[in-house]
Amino acid sequence: MDHLSNERREIVQTLQAPDTRPDPSLRVTRRTFLHKSLLTAGVTASAATYGWFPLINTIDLAWGQTGFKFAWVSDTHLYPKNVNTRFVDKATRAFKEVQAMSPPADFLIFGGDLAQLGDPVELDLGADILKEVKIKKVFIPGEHDWYLDMGKKWEALFGKQPWTFDHKGVRFVGLDTVSRGPDYWTAKKMTDKERMGHMATLDGSVAGAWAGVGRDQLQWLQQNLSSWPKDRPVVIFTHNPLYEYYPPWNFWVRDWREVHEILKPYGNVTNIHGHTHQVLYNEIGKIRSIGMLATSWPWPYAPEGVPALTKCHLRVDPGDHFDGVGWAQLTMSAANKIENEYMMWRKKDHIFAEAQVDSGCGDNGNQILSPRTADREWPYYGAYK
């Protein structure tokens, strides 16, 4: 995968000039502390039941506006309850904890992949669980929500993207990075379920480079930001990261260059994304990206391309469904800071790995992987043989 290295070098050459960093006032520090709000109110019972203390790592970013909080939940990947309730339990727990935040969050952003296979039963189930959260809610879709009926049910429940709103001095933008995948299904006369199945296989070879912002949204973004002062904060929510981390798993958007071209004049841009199900931090030019946890299950770090600025989370215990997963709350404090707090559900004293042997990406130097093979033949090998 040498071409990946070439493209990454291109990112650096194009955007990472020696004097280019995110706004210098946005100092990044990391610390771990016990999050007291979780030990109060209704959450105490569940915390005690599971026997964990939620220990939270924070990224503090100096900011410039009045204090408020917002919460991020994504990648719940709900199956119908008769298939499994594991993910339903975890999504419910996250939403209950969001509702129990004290002081309360101003809004919840749901970052996509509410459903596992785009099934209306799954999406309705998600909408039902989301009723737990009474504060303002905004939504962006994931590929798992979209490709059974091409977003019909999703849009009926959660509205259209892109969207934008200004809140206490910050411009928030929600983009759809999933719906503009190239048509791989028509020529092969796939059923809706087959199309969805390929889309739901992270490491599949059939769906290709489906993640992208698209020309229409790029134009919209440029217009939307044109009246916004260049030094004021912009937060962009996307399902996929807005940089190239690992294209084989669509840990990117294919038009990241165009996105960065539009965002280049702005000095205070934060992209918050889901899809990767892991702790991630990156800076490209003047833009910072923060990757969020899933509530469902953690993806392994990609075998290459983990941003150098990312401190990987600890190895995950596959025997513990609540390990390596969770949600996030972001606090914009009166002291002009925003704290991103990973609410990872695990009984550990910290979530970031210090030693390579404990790190989720510690083995990356030792494993060389191959793209899968069985889905490259058509008719699809196996099921239709």
Partner: protein, 172 residues
């Protein structure tokens, strides 16, 4: 090692009980020679069977086809293909979770590190032990026999996908 030295080693390894008695020593030496000759002939015969002729491209392709067929079956099992599970009579998951949902491209399966002490199982384990642990615990499926077709196929896929990884048995 020369034939002479092999004979010598075999005779010594035989631990002749009474070296001072020539008749016994001679008998032992003759037995050792005979045994060695038979063993060498047998090895030669096997080698002759396996490498009777130079490999032809067709032969090599046939070997590869046999392997890749198993890789593909393993790939499908690993990605939760119901038809393949049914065909092989296995139920690898009852939660709709497939192996690949935590191990895309068979990442973090670390076949190159086995055998090793595996924390979850609390024993010195093989890759096959770990595959069965994942089937039984996170996937809540039904464990498969260690030498079953499904196990060998899963193993084939995991090894194939990791064939570039550095062999490092015992690494944690």
């Amino acid at each position: 090692m020369t034939l002479r030295s092999i004979i010598h080693r075999r005779a010594s390894a035989g631990g002749a009980p009474a070296p001072r008695r020539p008749a016994v020593r001679t008998t032992l030496a003759v037995s050792a020679v005979l045994l060695t000759v038979v063993a060498l002939l047998a090895m030669g015969a096997n080698r002759a069977l396996a490498h009777k002729e130079k490999h032809t491209p067709d032969q090599l392709k046939a070997f590869d086809d046999i392997f890749m067929e198993q890789v593909k079956v393993g790939d499908l099992l690993f990605h939760g293909d119901g038809a393949t599970e049914k065909k092989l009579g296995v139920e690898l998951s009852k939660t709709a979770m497939a192996c690949a949902m935590c191990h895309p491209f068979a990442s973090d399966t670390h076949p190159q590190e086995f055998p090793k002490f595996q924390e979850q199982i609390n024993k010195f384990a093989t890759l096959r032990d770990m595959i069965n642990w994942c089937i039984e615990k996170p996937n809540e499926g039904v464990k498969i026999p260690e030498d079953s077709e499904a196990m060998k196929a899963l193993e084939a896929y995991i090894y194939w996908s990791n064939r570039g990884s550095r062999l490092d048995a015992g690494r944690h």
